[in-house]
Symmetry: C2
C-alpha cells in the first residue's frame, strides 16, 4: 500500500499559477532566426533544457533521442554551406513575387547562435520490436519530436531563442555529423540568448501566410463531421485572446 | 518605428516563476491509460487545450493539423476493436516472460475517457511546395507532433490526463474516421479527468525499461564526439533532481 501511494502525485502538484505560466510560455515561443547574441549558454541552463527534452514522452519508454552539441565553428560552417545549397534549390521552387519574398527571409542563425543542437533518433535503440511501435513505425520519430518541443519550450522559459533549420539535405547532415545509417537527424536547432523575441511568428508578420481559425479545424467524430457551434464560439474567443498573447 | 516596437515582446514577458512552472508541468506529465473519470471536459478547458496545440510551431507556418473530437460511443467502440486486433498481433511479437508482461499492461483508455481526439496532418494544406519542407518532407508530420506535445502539456496543466494510443493500424483508423488519402492520423489520444496521476511512467514502474542517463546521450560536434565532463556532471545532477520531480 505504501509503495502504491508513494507512486501517486499529490493532488496539488500543479496550481492555477502553473497553468497560466505554461500558457505564457507556449504563446511566447518563437522560431528564432536572427537576434542571437554570442554569449555562451551556461552549463546549468543547457542541462535544464536538455533534461526537459529527456523527460518527453517516448513510445515504449524507448528514449530514442541523442543530442549532438555543435559548437565547433568548422562543423557549423559545413552545416551552413549545406543549408545554402538547399536554400538556393528551395528558392527556385517559388515563382515570381513569392520567390522574391522567400529570398528576403532570414531562415537560420547557424553561425550567429553560440550553439547548435542536432536532435537525433536511434531507430534501433530498443531492438527491433518496441512496445507501441509495432503498428506505426514512425512512433520513435514522433517521440523525438516531442523531445524537441519540450526543449524548445524550456529554452523559451530560460530566455533562450531557438530556431529549427529544416532547409537542409538529411544525407549531407548525416555525413557532416557522422551519423550511422540507423540514426535520423530529426531536428537541427540553433540556440542562444537573443536581443528580443518577436510578438508574432515572422512568417505571419511578413504576410507569408496567416493564422488559421481553429474552429474550422475541429470536427466531431469524423473528418467530415459537424462543427460543434457552442465549442466553436469558445474556440474563437480563446484564439482571439491567444492572438493577443493571453489565454484566459 | 512604432510598428516594429509593437511587434517585440517586452523584456519581462516571462519570469522565474514561469520557468519553474513550466518544469513542473513537464515533469508531472504522464501517459495515462487508466484512472479516467467519466466527467465531460468543459468547453472552456477543451478550447484552451486545443488553442495550445494550435500555437505549436509549424513548418512554413503551415498549420497542417486538424482535430477530430471523438465522443460517439459507436465510433470509439470501432477504434477499440481496431486496437484489440493490433494489440493481439503486438503481444505475439514479445516472447516468453516479456509477452506475459506485455499482456499484463493496460495500454489505452478509449472507452473510459470521456473524449478521444485524433490529431491529423493534412499534407496538402499549403499546396505542394511548403517553405521549410522542400528538403525534409516529413516536416509537416513533425509540426503536427509539436501540436500534440503542446496539447499534452496543456491538458496536464488543466488536470486532464492524456494517453496516446499507437497500437492501431493506420488504415483502420483512417477508415473509421473517414480520412482522405492525403491526411495522416498522427496521434489518437484519450483525454479526461483522472483520479490521480502516477509519479513515474508506468513502464518504468513495471520494470519494462529504465530511464537512460542523459549524459551518455550528449556528445560534442559529432555522433561519436566526446562527452563534455563538466556538462556531464551538471546533467547527472539535474537529472537526479528531475527524477524526484524537481528541476533546480
Amino acid at each position: 500500500m505504501t509503495d502504491r501511494r508513494a507512486a501517486i502525485q499529490s493532488g496539488d502538484t500543479l496550481t492555477e499559477a502553473d497553468r497560466a505560466s505554461l500558457y505564457r510560455v507556449l504563446l511566447s515561443r518563437r522560431d528564432v532566426r536572427g537576434q542571437f547574441l554570442p554569449d555562451p549558454i551556461p552549463d546549468e541552463v543547457l542541462a535544464r533544457i536538455l533534461v526537459a527534452a529527456h523527460y518527453a514522452p517516448s513510445v515504449g519508454f524507448m528514449q530514442p533521442w541523442s543530442f549532438i552539441l555543435v559548437r565547433s565553428p568548422e562543423v557549423r560552417a559545413r552545416v551552413k554551406t549545406a543549408f545554402e545549397t538547399a536554400n538556393a534549390e528551395a528558392a527556385a521552387m517559388f515563382e515570381g513575387e513569392r520567390g522574391d519574398s522567400y529570398r528576403a527571409l532570414k531562415l537560420e542563425g547557424i553561425l550567429e547562435a553560440p550553439v547548435n543542437i542536432c536532435v537525433t533518433c536511434d531507430r534501433d535503440r530498443a531492438g527491433p520490436v518496441v512496445l507501441g511501435r509495432t503498428h506505426i513505425p514512425t512512433m520513435d520519430l514522433y517521440s523525438t519530436v516531442c523531445a524537441v518541443e519540450n526543449l524548445w519550450l524550456a529554452a523559451r522559459a530560460e530566455g533562450i531563442g531557438l530556431g529549427w533549420v529544416s532547409i537542409i539535405s538529411e544525407p549531407a547532415l548525416k555525413d557532416i555529423l557522422g551519423l550511422p545509417k540507423r540514426v535520423v537527424p530529426v531536428a537541427y536547432l540553433c540556440l542562444g540568448r537573443v536581443s528580443h523575441f518577436f510578438a508574432r511568428p515572422e512568417l505571419e508578420t511578413a504576410g507569408w501566410t496567416r493564422r488559421l481559425p481553429l474552429a474550422d479545424l475541429v470536427t466531431l467524430d469524423r473528418w467530415d463531421g459537424e462543427h460543434d457551434p457552442a465549442l466553436g464560439e469558445v474556440l474563437a474567443r480563446v484564439q482571439a485572446g491567444a492572438d493577443n498573447g493571453t489565454m484566459d
